[in-house]
Subunit: 154 residues, 12 copies
Amino acid sequence: MSTHSPLRILVINGPNLNLLGRREAGIYGVATLAEIEASCRAEAATLEVEIDFFQSNHEGVLVERIQQALGACELIIINPAAYTHTSVAIRDALLAVALPVIEVHLSNVHKREPFRHHSYVSDIALGQVIGFGKDGYLLALQGGVRYLRGRASG
Amino acid sequence: MSTHSPLRILVINGPNLNLLGRREAGIYGVATLAEIEASCRAEAATLEVEIDFFQSNHEGVLVERIQQALGACELIIINPAAYTHTSVAIRDALLAVALPVIEVHLSNVHKREPFRHHSYVSDIALGQVIGFGKDGYLLALQGGVRYLRGRASG
Amino acid sequence: MSTHSPLRILVINGPNLNLLGRREAGIYGVATLAEIEASCRAEAATLEVEIDFFQSNHEGVLVERIQQALGACELIIINPAAYTHTSVAIRDALLAVALPVIEVHLSNVHKREPFRHHSYVSDIALGQVIGFGKDGYLLALQGGVRYLRGRASG
Amino acid sequence: MSTHSPLRILVINGPNLNLLGRREAGIYGVATLAEIEASCRAEAATLEVEIDFFQSNHEGVLVERIQQALGACELIIINPAAYTHTSVAIRDALLAVALPVIEVHLSNVHKREPFRHHSYVSDIALGQVIGFGKDGYLLALQGGVRYLRGRASG
Amino acid sequence: MSTHSPLRILVINGPNLNLLGRREAGIYGVATLAEIEASCRAEAATLEVEIDFFQSNHEGVLVERIQQALGACELIIINPAAYTHTSVAIRDALLAVALPVIEVHLSNVHKREPFRHHSYVSDIALGQVIGFGKDGYLLALQGGVRYLRGRASG
Amino acid sequence: MSTHSPLRILVINGPNLNLLGRREAGIYGVATLAEIEASCRAEAATLEVEIDFFQSNHEGVLVERIQQALGACELIIINPAAYTHTSVAIRDALLAVALPVIEVHLSNVHKREPFRHHSYVSDIALGQVIGFGKDGYLLALQGGVRYLRGRASG
Amino acid sequence: MSTHSPLRILVINGPNLNLLGRREAGIYGVATLAEIEASCRAEAATLEVEIDFFQSNHEGVLVERIQQALGACELIIINPAAYTHTSVAIRDALLAVALPVIEVHLSNVHKREPFRHHSYVSDIALGQVIGFGKDGYLLALQGGVRYLRGRASG
Amino acid sequence: MSTHSPLRILVINGPNLNLLGRREAGIYGVATLAEIEASCRAEAATLEVEIDFFQSNHEGVLVERIQQALGACELIIINPAAYTHTSVAIRDALLAVALPVIEVHLSNVHKREPFRHHSYVSDIALGQVIGFGKDGYLLALQGGVRYLRGRASG
Amino acid sequence: MSTHSPLRILVINGPNLNLLGRREAGIYGVATLAEIEASCRAEAATLEVEIDFFQSNHEGVLVERIQQALGACELIIINPAAYTHTSVAIRDALLAVALPVIEVHLSNVHKREPFRHHSYVSDIALGQVIGFGKDGYLLALQGGVRYLRGRASG
Amino acid sequence: MSTHSPLRILVINGPNLNLLGRREAGIYGVATLAEIEASCRAEAATLEVEIDFFQSNHEGVLVERIQQALGACELIIINPAAYTHTSVAIRDALLAVALPVIEVHLSNVHKREPFRHHSYVSDIALGQVIGFGKDGYLLALQGGVRYLRGRASG
Amino acid sequence: MSTHSPLRILVINGPNLNLLGRREAGIYGVATLAEIEASCRAEAATLEVEIDFFQSNHEGVLVERIQQALGACELIIINPAAYTHTSVAIRDALLAVALPVIEVHLSNVHKREPFRHHSYVSDIALGQVIGFGKDGYLLALQGGVRYLRGRASG
Amino acid sequence: MSTHSPLRILVINGPNLNLLGRREAGIYGVATLAEIEASCRAEAATLEVEIDFFQSNHEGVLVERIQQALGACELIIINPAAYTHTSVAIRDALLAVALPVIEVHLSNVHKREPFRHHSYVSDIALGQVIGFGKDGYLLALQGGVRYLRGRASG
């Protein structure tokens, strides 16, 4: 169903991540989203995959960006941020496109408020990478590519 | 308050229903939203009512579409999809326009994840039609028209 | 498994529905059960199906009437009334005969006491029609016949 | 709605109360149901009211006996026994006849298993008399007659 | 331990009952506490028992009044009012004096806020008389005297 | 209290068990209730005890059949089926006759819906045999006879 | 029911507020209760209303002070402090006098222990002013006077 | 960090508040949002502060408007309306800009549905003003200005 | 997969069962574990199966003993004792070896502390034999052998 | 902050402890409160500290006695009795004086009713001594003096 | 059953207590387990009792050490550390040996994570000494010896 | 605190992971633990770090292996398997050594039984890598080394 080259991966970011590096650095780190995107693009080049990197503060826009992945990419890496805990619509969009999903969180959500311990994405995802700050995206890219290539060769 | 002819009915659809027929057919069926709209229009013609058929993935857009029904129609049929379970804003919009509301779900939500068993719409609706796939819209139209005409003549 | 003509449908009513029209008209409406039966028979004639219409106040009698549907009808429409919320025995009888089931409630149970929000039938039913008063039976008949004929022709 | 003479009161008893005096005397006392009935009849004579005294182990039979009180008596005194905690059908029958209801329990249910602390009758009753053994019926008769006569003269 | 004549009964009333007849008549009735006391004294005379009738708005004062019953009376009738739901101190005082206790409530607490459904007294009482307004005190007096005389002669 | 010969055992079966062999064979097995009764009678003959084998779909009938065991048998083996989870009346009947009770379930209820994990019988029974299909009755017979004979000789 | 001049307002303070300024200044601020009273009196003069300012550590005393407001003032501003979370007696006193109530808390109770998130006063109050320290009393005075004058002129 | 003149305050309003004065006047009052804005501007002039007054039905738009307050104002007054109970994204935006926040609700949310008793804003706010209708905005302005000026001079 | 002769069965016992006969005889009976082992060996001889009988107080040792059953026996009878309620590791070991499991408890756990009502083994077992004291092992052996032979011949 | 000699310790006792030795000796022991006070005074003499020993049945009086400890002693030993489970006011008084607190209970509260398992004092105390009867006070005195002297010399 | 001299006491310590003095000194203090043992031995000498002092990180080893106390000592002082909250096996071992048990915790567990507020030992223990650091062992020794000598002389 | 070369990392594996490749391959994959260890060693060589790779089925052994990491390594990667959900002792050992911890799970625990959704390690870990099968260890190694080197250079 997927071929080795070039794998296309959608990296999608939820609300307030546009403020990264300017907000609560103790929790989220000092890197900006642009710097994270640059790191991802570098890692993607090394891994010989294509990525699409997207952020929105709007639930509906995120839903529609996920919908567009249908037939257009092989994997979604998502940091749903606040919508992790409140959006069934994003869950349903992910279910609808039926692609493997990797959930990323910059901070360790289990150290924070109890409502951040539940995710509407976790049980429909391939897996999670949580608490590694900006490195989490790179680990997710590596893990996702390994998964897709393993599945293709499996 | 309402007159027999022509009754105006707003049929409103929530997130991801634009993908109908292309997603999870085992749960939602093979009909597209356009086909459902066509069936509704045919049924409306038979029932001699006017319908407005609308879909959006955006909570705020749905809220505003409901607000516009104030004074412009006599009944709302709504399939809030994912927002059924998470949107107090849609509930409040429905309360604000104070029209009778019929809640429709394509699938039987009671067979699915527990969070789908709660609806922010159910207790403020006239009633529910759940689990009949695309036919649910037609049943809701008939039930709604019967209700409005019964009330008018009652 | 089922044939088009004549489809046989069991319409089954739980406790206290024999008092309809005489009790709490604000909640349940003014139609008597005999009038509802008459409406159903008229609708069944239009739909060219056969119906069996039954009421009992006894859980065990309802269980046995459901058991008798095994091999004798293609669909059960049930308004379990109070037993909706308390009877595993009726649930088990419905599971045993393994027929499609449509759950009907006259009033919108979600507007009432919390214990009425849970149903032992909902998750094993095809669907629900709730809150349409006596019209709910007619919608269920139509929805059920559409379902059976769609399945037969599907 | 009610007249002073003769007030008619239905005293209704739920499952296993036919065994009174022969079962768990430590909890329920040594009086038989026949002796309780005799005490009630004596008290009714003193109070110049008529009583109907009834017991059944069958939920459906109890439902129907309550239904028959519609128009035939002014007050129901009920010891629903085990059905206190499980029967919505009896609750619905009591709601349907819309008579004042006094709930009686021989033993203090609050000293027993937690599931006996909830009653489907309590919040729709006029009041409760709990823990007085067989005397509870007599207190309920007196309290009920006072209530009816106070209302009539009020 | 107790003798037939004269039985001494403490009737004890909790906070805000001094306002009876002046507050929320729809819930608590129009009789004042003085009128209730007079009724109780009349009933006590008929029953040939002595009563002590007491009210306080202070938890500590109520605790101490209960403590004084030790050796000074054979039964406590208590309407703890608001302290029903919050006072472990009153419960402990009742446990300490180890007398039979009858709990009385003017209104049917089960029709009111959920926090009024729990009582710190119920499971240590002989029984409850709930929802009979001022008559509840008289029923409790009768029930209590029957209990004491039955036990003495038993 | 009991003698060795002949021990009398009541085997009592709840709702829908009359359909065994015809319903949900994947859960309940292919044996009919008549075949189970025959196996039980054979085992009883081997064990030199008498059995009474009974089934009803009616809660009240089951209650009364249990009541009749008072003085007429030494042990009750009961598969309450759906009433396991909903019937306080059956619990109270078992408490009333005060005989040792063995609870049997054909299927492993712990693998099924959560509401099947609670039993109103378990904490008043001698023990449970769960998940062994029709063999469960035979194990219960053996276990019960061993218990009674051990107690008699103990 | 109330007249414009002079409105009388009872400002009532619960336990430990006599220690203000001497305890946990990080939470409650450095103003003493006498200073708060002085500010309130100044604001009352500006608003041309009369105030009564009261503090007690005793639940019963607070109950009785509220009772005395019956017919003596038009509004109650209450900071029930610890009794916010535990006193049904104060709630009942407020219900009994049936005056508009404004609930004030110095600190933001929602930042503190979970048991401080529930108030027995909130749902019977006109509104709340929470977290503004000593200024909360002044805001409550202004808001209360606006409310009473708006109602009088409405 | 903040200076005395001119303080800039963002007043932000959530979904359906654009309908004020036209919806559910019994709950929300008869003032329109434009009238509330006018009152706020008048009060701001008196207090010698600048305000920005904003409403949106879109969660994402509200998030972005809050983000823009970073460095542009010293205080946020927010009536999140329905999003109070469902939006972690708004909470996170408020946390990101790290400004003092005052939460306002027109109606007393504690008198309404239980889901309205929880707020995602309360524990990160300075305080709340609840139940004062349109006056709540004015109280919040005064309270906020007092807070900022007190902090500046403190 | 399994052959008739000789079936090999692992009987495994959890912590503190080495004390049987010396501890809490009222709950667990007077038989020692050695006596239970002897009874099991006698029953196994009659049934013509081989058994391995094992006890440990160490969770890790029990895990490893279960692991060794992989390929070495056809059935596990386990009384996990205290680990029933706390050991996911034993559950995982049982899942790993994927053999049919029969859970045995000497006492009726449903009569004891609530935490003993939950078992990490029940929903992955074939069935349970509970409350029969030492006879439970023999019933489990019989039931297990019937199951294996039925499956083999099925 | 504290000096070695003489340390002053307040020993404070809640409601119904004045009845010690006369109530429920099985739970609380046979020593009277006067005897406990005498033991404490003897122990205090040995430890060369001063103690103040106090009891009240009134929550408000206890609150005020704790308030008076501010600056007047170095440690509070408290047996809040029933108020342990219900008094936030006592908790707040203890927080206000900000002294180390040792919580003592005569009986092992964990063996009693579930509501006695929660304490409003435990999480703000230095520690607890529970279940040692009257000796608990002596252990608390020793432990408290060790703590204060260790801290002073630390 | 026990004699005055020499009483034998087992002091038993759970997992990670071997690290005392090297881990989280802010919570557990700076004393090593060897120093605590030395203090205990000194106190035991003063009290003229014998002690056995034991630590293990292994649940099974702790279970077996407790089992060996059967007949070998008169009292167990246990700091189960992490196993407090998870080990039913240790609870069962303590129940099996049926000796008085004193539960000790170095830190005040009620100030820590909620899962540390529940103990599987508390309700079967004589009592608890919590939050006194290493002194807790000495208080437990004194309290235990007083208990045993009081019981012997009682 | 840590130096660049050579970083030492402990990789620790919980119960039943010794069966990997032989058990439930659908959940855990086909790789054996030896193969995972080999992959880890290869990755460690590439990353120029030293690893220690350890597995045990015994909670106490795991606790002690973690304790030995104190001063001997800079990072712990742990797959606690079943002990994730039940072991406070492992949590406490990790807290005691106070090293950064990365939690790894082969399968996506959020797709499995609810009890697997809670981890005693998550809130004290640096982060989690979940659902990537054997690749999870490699991602954790990379993430951990990035973290340590970033911290050292930061």
